[in-house]
Amino acid sequence: MSALRERLRISNLPKPARYSLGALGLVFLFLLPNKWFYEYLGIPLGFAYIPLYTTKNDMASVLFICTWIILLSLGLNVVVGYAGLLDLGFFGFFAVGAYVVALLTSPESKLLTEYNWLESPWPWLVAVPIGIALSLLAGVLLGWPTLRLRGDYLAIVTLGFAEMIRIVAKQQDWILNGDRGIPEVGHPPGSVGGEPLFSFDAKPYYWLALCVIILAVFLIRNLVRSRVGRAWVAIREDEDAAELMGVPTFRFKLWAFAIGAAVGGLSGTLWAGQANFVNSTTFSLENSILVLSAVLLGGAGNIAGAILGGFLVIYIPEWLRSVGDVFGLPETVTVGGSTYDISPTSLRFAIFGIVLIVVMIFRPQGLWPNRRRAAEIQHRKKEVAVGE
């Protein structure tokens, strides 16, 4: 059984098989948001919705949310999963990326209307690298003083950072417009038959984000399989020993932090383009926690795990909205004269929370963990048991 499983591991397949499998998988992913794809497969739509398609919510929109959350969890996975640093305010970097794009590309931006720093809105494509660069800079500035310290300082400082951005964005008016936010954020370029390719439809954004994810995975994998990745794992396993073996621990922790921040910022720039409107409400603490739970659910320290986790934390709650349609569940129940709302839509986060708890009890290493990190967690558990 395990020998068979070993042979079926994708990494053990011959190269052509691996590539064609990969290509097939990609085609599948690109077709995913199309209703006709399900119809073509003969999967019935209409009343008896197929279990995959979300019915209460545009499938393409759900998938686009999945992709930018996946990007976030890929970034956070570098920080938490590989370098072993706890970052509780990862959405702060997302906010930096989103606001940079909004400020530079919106005709309503105060940089244009009040301060005259810009003559006209910049193209989205030009704003994106700036957004990434500034998120990276924010990561470096935040990591520089805190990464020298051990322990929980980093968690607290990052938490404070994200909340600070949110509160500043909410309260003040001089540039970020408070809760009124910044509308008319620029879209990515490109047009098909005279129509702009990117407008409000989420599907092209999903496709774009998919391409970005593939690129990000490729680059992060290069890092993980180099001395940089080895340094991160060494730091995670024994920071003192790593330093005594010549690993510049501070520098590599700072790199992990900065890379995570840059990927988080990139996610923000994508999201801002599609959302078209940026204000502070998106950057709440729950979202930072959501990304962290995506990483832990998927399996920290593994790229595939981060992707799976990012997908599930969005997809499961959204899909739960449609569950009622699939199984024909009642929306309300009446007990002793009073009516209670038991629609899956309103209960979806409670259900998802229970799923999370159950997974974490039975699989603390996550659904698709890195083999090494799973062993670390396993042994930590044993050591705790011995220490009791």
Binding site: L219, N222, L223, S226, R227, V228, R230, A231, V233, A234, E237, D238, D240, A241, A242, E243, L244, M245, G246, V247, P248, T249, W255, I259, R372, R373, A375, E376, H379
Partner: protein, 282 residues
């Protein structure tokens, strides 16, 4: 041949295999100069002085709690001496960052094994080999030629060192799953991968049976013969006698004796410190 005075030799020229030559003829590699180290009220090192010469194997012995490990920690930057200084090849190292000291050429093992437990044997050594690699994030992201060259070199070095310390074939085992003795050897390989001029071994034979100890001593000699100076902490006096060129004895943080194995073995103060060790132990 090492009897000839060789004072104006360039510092990085490979040392010819030395015998127990008179110390005065050789180049000092590391000087522990009047080092005192206090932990609150505990004086772990008390005005300790000794010099390590290039190419020798120096034994550092003393009863439990004498300050041997603390001495290593001071030399590798874990602690900064309260007073005094440690110089390596003439430059002061006390107060330097630890990874920089390693890069300058001091590598160590630990009394309590500190491998990266879930990394494979090979990866553990690769981490050591990376100490001199210059690839950073941009190079690794884009897989630039230098990155690929360094990866290849590091991997080759790791394979070679596994063979050298005698645990070839364990490349892909997680360090945690190796037998105890192999873990100790792996630590030595990892330290050697940083290409040290000075290798500090903290009780590398602890928990070994006599045969394993003999093997280890042969390995230490072999390492010295490749041009690495060795500082060896060992509890077992008899063992140290057979392999070291000179010995420094610590007790309660003070140096109580220094000299050739024969001199140290004859020193009554050493006997007093090692109560129960008969005079003819060596």
């Amino acid at each position: 041949m090492s009897e000839q005075p060789s004072l104006d030799k360039p510092s990085d020229a490979p040392e010819p295999t030395p015998s127990a030559a008179p110390a005065g003829d050789r180049k000092p590699l590391l000087e522990v100069d009047n080092v005192t180290l206090r932990f609150g009220g505990v004086v772990a090192l008390n005005q300790v002085n000794f010099t390590l010469y290039e190419g020798e194997i120096l034994g550092l012995i003393g009863p439990n709690g004498a300050g041997k490990t603390t001495c290593f920690n001071a030399m590798t930057g874990v602690y900064t001496p309260t007073e005094g200084a440690i110089r390596f090849q003439g430059g002061k190292i006390s107060g330097q960052q630890r990874f920089k000291i390693t890069k300058m050429g001091i590598a160590r093992t630990f009394q309590n094994i500190r491998l990266f437990p879930e990394m494979t044997a090979l990866e553990n050594i690769q981490v050591g080999a990376d100490a001199h690699h210059r690839t950073s994030v941009p190079g690794a992201l884009l897989r630039l030629p230098r990155h690929r060259r360094e990866e290849k070199d590091g991997l080759k070095l790791a394979h070679d060192l596994l063979e050298l310390v005698g645990i070839g074939g364990t490349e892909h085992e997680a360090a945690r799953n190796l037998p105890y003795g192999s873990q100790r050897r792996l630590e030595i390989a990892r330290a050697l991968a940083t290409r040290p001029k000075l290798l500090c071994l903290d009780e590398p034979a602890a928990g070994f049976n006599p045969a394993e100890k003999q093997d280890l001593m042969q390995l230490i000699k072999k390492i010295r013969d490749t041009g690495v100076t060795v500082l060896l902490i060992e509890h077992d006096m008899r063992l140290v006698m057979g392999v070291t060129d000179r010995i420094v004895v610590l007790e309660f943080g003070r140096k109580i004796a220094e000299g050739s194995p024969a001199e140290v073995a004859a020193d009554p103060k050493v006997h007093a410190a090692y109560l129960g060790v008969p005079a003819d132990a060596a």
